[in-house]
């Protein structure tokens, strides 16, 4: 399969859908918006995995994640959209940028950002994309999401279902976040062999980063 095949599958999906769907000649505004934002998101994701400038990759990741938040809003899942903005754009990307700075990533183009097996990777990814898109389009050709009526993902609905049916996994998740916090602190402490001062500094900065991260996570999850 090739990229052309993927695009062809997409176009074929559109045609099939168009032939059988009730709203053929008039795609709704939501669909058009979803398509445009989806294109932006996909383009940003492709730039993220292909650019040679490491910091630019993190910044394009912000665009991709923000586009996904807009998609969640279009799917009426507003709580998840804001959680996405808070946690991914607010904390995960900041952590990634911290990681890039702390590992002394080169500013500017780094020629060895891609490994030698990128063509194998490209083949695998395009084959997987072709297979997945074909199967998904074939399976859900006649399925429609009804987005009219009361939105299904407001904070009230999500909170009610979360605390009525999902309390135990929720609490288990907070234990997992605590374990992740402890693990991050332990991992970022320096071994005894290093200089004492450096060890203290590193442990302090690691603790601060981990603490803010987990606090944000818990705020987002609640």
């Amino acid at each position: 399969m090739s990229t052309a095949a993927t695009a062809g599958a997409l176009a074929a999906g559109t045609l099939h859908r168009a032939a059988e769907s009730p709203g053929f000649l008039s795609p709704t505004g939501v669909e058009i918006t979803f398509l445009l934002v989806g294109l932006v998101t996909l383009g940003a994701a492709v730039v993220t995995v292909t650019t040679r400038q490491l910091v630019h990759a993190a910044l394009w990741l912000v665009v991709a994640l923000g586009g996904l938040a807009v998609e969640y809003l279009l799917l009426t899942a507003e709580f998840i959209a804001w959680v996405q903005v808070l946690i991914y754009v607010g904390s995960v990307v900041v952590l990634l940028l911290f990681g890039l700075m702390l590992t002394r990533a080169p500013i500017g183009r780094s020629p060895d950002a891609d490994s030698g097996n990128r063509w194998v990777a490209l083949t695998v990814a395009v084959a997987a994309a072709g297979a997945l898109v074909w199967v998904v389009v074939d399976a859900f050709r006649t399925t429609w999401i009804d987005l009219d009526g009361a939105p299904s993902g407001t904070t009230e609905v999500t909170g009610a279902s979360l605390f009525q049916h999902w309390v135990l996994p929720f609490e288990a998740l907070s234990v997992l976040l605590l374990a992740a916090l402890v693990g991050a602190i332990v991992l970022s402490r320096k071994a005894k062999a290093g200089s004492e001062r450096g060890a203290k500094d590193t442990a302090a900065s690691g603790t601060a980063t981990g603490a803010t991260r987990t606090r944000r996570d818990q705020e987002g999850a609640r």
Partner: protein, 131 residues
Amino acid sequence: MHLAYPAVLAALLFCTGLYGVLARRNAILVLMSVELMLNAVNLNLVAFDAWLSRAAEDTLHSGQALALFTIAIAAAEIGIGLAIVLAVYRNRGTSDVDRLRDTAEGHDPDSDATGRALPAPAAGEKAEATA
């Protein structure tokens, strides 16, 4: 909205992340690609929840709950992953996943010599200075 829109977008995003995981050398870029894959799964969860909450009479909103859990787990994963990458960088002086071949099966002496002996002392000091 047609269900194929979010499903196709999620599949393409997942494969983009798959390419990034396989093709990137810097460990932090690999982590970014993993985030893309997790987000593709989240989009699928949210879309199918929006579909099933109308199709079914009584719903648990399991898609949205699982999407929230995935987001929280992804945040924990990125924290631990970055701590591991920083520890590896501090010890080895590189975050290049192609050079970390100590547990590889076909042990070639070339990468061992360049990846381990050479940059470790010099870059260790640099890492301490920056940290």
